[in-house]
Symmetry: C2
DNA sequence: TTGTAAGCGTTATCAG
DNA sequence: CTGATAACGCTTACAA
């Protein structure tokens, strides 16, 4: 007797379909793979058998035999931020369109490097053929290097891991657009409420802010720290409100801008008459803030699509084709204006 | 000669580890599974070999042999809404904590029933042992019935698919809390800006609104349609602003409330002095709207956790334990007030 | 155009 | 406590 349970009601497999269709299992496999050299009549009988038995291919068996999983992994931090979600949607869409499945590994915010390594390992174990790193941290540790060499990986937000590849979205450009807009409006200097410095994005935007000010011969005022949340923006707003000659602020996210503006209003400072505010992201609610936010838009969903496309092309060894031009865009609404004459 | 490529540099497998450790492959498997009956000394040698070879278990092979994948599928609509993202994070967290992996299948908003069936099939093909349906539509079609019988499934937002199981979050309660709050404040009637009726959530909240008004002998005013977006809220706001005696509005989401309030302000109607507004969700920005939103909070992440927990318990045949009490909560802020005396 | 045979890496069963 | 062996369901290579 078999050492296995006889399982009289197991799911049908290719052999069952083959028997029902009067062909070999191999022919069933060929039909499933859309192999050209199958007589239409045969293919038809096979499809009929598949439908009548309710057969479905067993992905694990297929991967084991073929060595391919068509799984893309995605490492995500703090899934509840708008940006991560939109990015993920883009990755999903492109993956599905190319016959790939996405498996997600979440990592908590401010997680240690080892948490990222573990997440990566989880995905590799599942057989991910590539990984989209939708993450904030620098990934230059030797251990991560090891993994990204073994499994092709792409950063979705800031830059590819391949040093020579073009940036996906240059966060320095974002900072530059914001700060130059305020300066061009006539403000004498620009204060900055930073994003969490744990995130590369936050660091790059701050660097751009410093750089632009230096270029114009302005010594940057002290950085006001934030951590992406509206609460932290509110706290920063109270700080700003206490600085009488602060007339222009570059905040590193729309969500923080909501908190910041609230604090400014409570302190009796009008936006944009007394203080101009530029933020980053252009989330759906940005246009409905009071006042509507001037912000630097990031095309999140397209960024996700581009990351997935690049990864899939790499996996399949095909040319990625033209990568879309993912430039950030300054959207001018009502939270910025020229400073009042004094 | 073998019909396969000889692959001199293939990834190490259990046999390689076994050789390196001087044991059989079976013992390696036992060590990996944490089987109790292994001599500590042997286990130690195996672990050493694993580390030195950089061995990782091959999930596809393991599933094929064991018949288990430890994969949970999740069907998601419009991943970029805050609620879906937070829910998904909860599912992820709980799955990971129990050694499960989450595979997502996205479906576009207003997708046809067949799109949902296809998504379900995709997940089954991947070997999902259960599916979290984070979706808006009713799932009583015979085809879906077929699938949910084969693969255990749970709705994360509204109710379990098992008719006798308790609701996860009762959307009628949400509508009731909102409408009764306004009525108790002294408003004579309450207008409703609905969510998209394609979503069960939207329908249930509307039903609750109608029911509460009827209970108090009030004939509900015409429903003002919305579709979750701030833009649709803005449009609804212009409608409301044109109705002089509308003093209280129940909007089906915070995002719509932002748009609604903006339209009201532009029309010169003050919130809450002229019009009180209650919404649903309590997203992070709700407290930073102008005015801060009175809203009915939904514990999204916990809802996701509960859904995953229930599913996993079902898969493993264990008792789900006490399900957390997932009640919505009315958060009173500044967008509601008693009507002005006229 | 179709069929046969081998093997993918793991786990379950049974024997020792 | 450990090992040998037989599946799991599919795809690749080759033969017919």
């Amino acid at each position: 007797m078999s050492p296995r349970r006889p399982s009289p009601d197991r799911a049908p497999n290719q052999m069952d379909v083959a028997r029902a269709a009067g062909v070999s299992a191999q022919t069933v496999s060929r039909v499933l793979a859309g192999h050209p050299n199958v007589r239409p009549d045969t293919a038809h009988r096979v499809h009929a058998a598949i439908d009548s038995l309710g057969y479905r291919i067993h992905a694990a068996a297929a991967s084991l035999a073929s060595g391919r999983t068509r799984i893309i992994g995605m490492i995500v931090v703090s899934n509840d931020r708008y940006a991560s979600a939109a990015l993920g949607a883009g990755v999903e869409t492109t993956a599905a369109a190319n016959g790939y499945t996405v498996t997600t590994a979440s990592v908590s915010d401010h997680a240690s490097t080892s948490a990222f390594l573990e997440a990566f390992d989880r995905l590799e174990r599942q057989g991910a053929e590539g990984v989209v790193l939708n993450v904030p941290v620098e990934l230059d540790s030797p251990e991560m290097q090891l993994r990204t060499e073994r499994t092709p990986s792409t950063r979705s937000q800031v830059a590819s891991l391949q040093p020579d590849a073009p940036l996906v979205v240059d966060q320095h450009v974002i900072g530059r657009l914001a700060v130059e807009h305020l300066l061009d409006l006539g403000h004498r200097t620009v204060w900055h409420v930073g994003g969490d410095e744990y995130w590369i994005e936050g660091r790059h935007r701050r660097e751009a802010w410093e750089q632009v000010l230096h270029e114009r011969g302005i010594e940057p005022p002290p950085l006001i720290p934030g951590e992406w949340t509206p609460e932290s923006g509110y706290r920063a707003g109270r700080t700003i409100a206490a600085i009488p000659d602060a007339t222009a602020v570059f905040v590193s996210s729309d969500e923080m801008a909501f908190g910041l503006i609230r604090a400014l209003h409570e302190a009796g400072r009008r936006v944009p008459e007394d203080v101009s505010v530029v933020s980053v992201d252009d989330i759906a609610l940005a246009a409905y803030a009071s006042p509507a936010l001037t912000t630097v838009r990031q095309p999140f969903e397209e960024m996700g699509r581009a990351a997935a496309q690049r990864l899939i092309s790499h996996i399949e060894g095909t040319d990625a084709g033209d990568e879309p031009d993912l430039h950030p865009e300054l959207i001018i609404r009502s939270s910025t204006a020229a400073p009042l004459a004094r």
